[in-house]
Subunit: 254 residues, 2 copies
């Protein structure tokens, strides 16, 4: 057996999320099927982060063990062969490389970068449908930036995790959370990008933090209410969950 | 009658191009139908550039004459009303403003900027399917950059216009043609963007220039062959026509 590290890019729209689902296609299943079709091997792949339905990835990382192939294959050949059987699905292996036999995509991750994209303008998205959250009403970006500082650091994130989240410990450290606005078009449309980094995140944590930041941007919440919400340690004290289509698992560092 | 200048963004994938088609949806028809549905007016819209099927626009410009509306509408209201009836199609009016009564979107255009995007890597696109030309084999960008200089300036572009092009004069002036490469992912994938500006272009001119530049990038043509192809004044001396999905009408200056 040789362990490989795969880097995987996907548009989440057509998938039921990373994980296998009884009646909807998971990205994991799509890749495992592609591996089986080119190699005859029933390999199981383990991802660093199990993204939800509709969530995208620029560089998801997974590990997988392969038996020797009938004909020797370079890592590039393996990626190419998997991709050939993934078409026309919107998922591709953009890198494959041999890894240490104990390399674990999830447990060895030291840092994860997530990005959330909001299109803030009256007109709908056209080219990027499914790739961002469309919010028509102008958001107060400065207030969102002020609010974002309350999330950074070591906190109990109970208020911002899904009620079904199974993690034992709701305390996490957020290294960074930036709210960056730039023009999307020259007519006032803005692209609001929220980037956050940490070693690990709770279920729905990024989408729930974004949901609360949007309440601040809409001026329904004062920035300080983020602090009060964290202190409440109660999901009911949080805001709504932002939709999955704006979320990207961007990069994982080891 | 009041003349309006509309700025329109679209993803060309689902459309038969800008113009009305007997049996496939043109972007023009989609917008004229939306106008009719909100206002009851059978207005005709005139675009600066009639893009082909599959070609996108960031800021297409069109003019249209409206009769007074039953209830007064601001330009923003008009854009919003058109967009409401364009949904869920991938086209949106991102700006509307009153224009001089003799304003003509096509004849008054002083400069147009087109962009052509190539994804140059082995793996298929995932998030941007339909939004770029996927070329697997590594292209020689420096050779393409050298070749691009032969296009700039005042030339007879007969070799690079569609055989069915109806323009009387094949002589055009290209102000700029840049080939810009940047990383698309951290694993060697590159985004090759070709930008070109001029007052007007012949039918298929940008796609035909890109087709020839890709021959240079593939090292099937030497850069100097662009010069020889221009001198031949014969479409058969050109390269292939690049596919529509990589092309964007970016901006029009008046």
């Amino acid at each position: 057996m040789t362990r490989y590290k795969l880097v995987i890019e996907y548009k989440g729209t057509e998938f039921a999320g990373w994980q296998k689902q009884p009646d909807a296609l998971g990205i994991q299943t799509a890749i495992e099927e592609a591996i089986y079709r080119f190699s005859g091997q029933r390999a199981k792949i383990y991802a660093a982060g199990r993204t939800d339905a509709g969530v995208h990835a620029c560089e998801q990382v997974a590990h997988v063990d392969f038996l020797p192939f009938k004909n020797p294959m370079t890592p590039f050949d393996i990626a190419k062969a998997i991709n050939a059987y993934l078409r026309p699905r919107s998922v591709a292996v953009i890198s494959a490389e041999p890894a240490a036999e104990d390399f674990h995509a999830r447990f060895h991750a030291l840092n994860k970068l997530y990005r959330y994209r909001i299109l803030n303008r009256s007109a709908c998205p056209t080219m990027e449908t499914g790739l961002l959250w469309h919010i028509k009403k102008r958001l107060n970006v400065e207030a969102m930036q002020e609010a974002s500082t309350f999330f950074v650091g070591h906190h109990d994130f109970t208020t911002f995790r899904a009620s079904q989240c199974q993690a034992k410990n709701p305390v996490k450290t957020l290294h960074r959370l930036d709210v960056i606005a730039k023009p999307y078009d020259p007519y006032g449309g803005q692209d609001i990008t929220i980037e956050t980094e940490g070693r690990s995140f709770l279920h729905h944590q990024v989408r729930n933090m974004v949901g609360a930041l949007v309440l601040v941007g809409e001026e329904k919440w004062k920035p300080e209410q983020i602090k009060a919400a964290l202190s409440a340690k109660d999901r009911k004290a949080g805001g709504p969950t932002a939709p999955p289509e704006g979320l990207y698992l961007v990069r994982i560092d080891y």
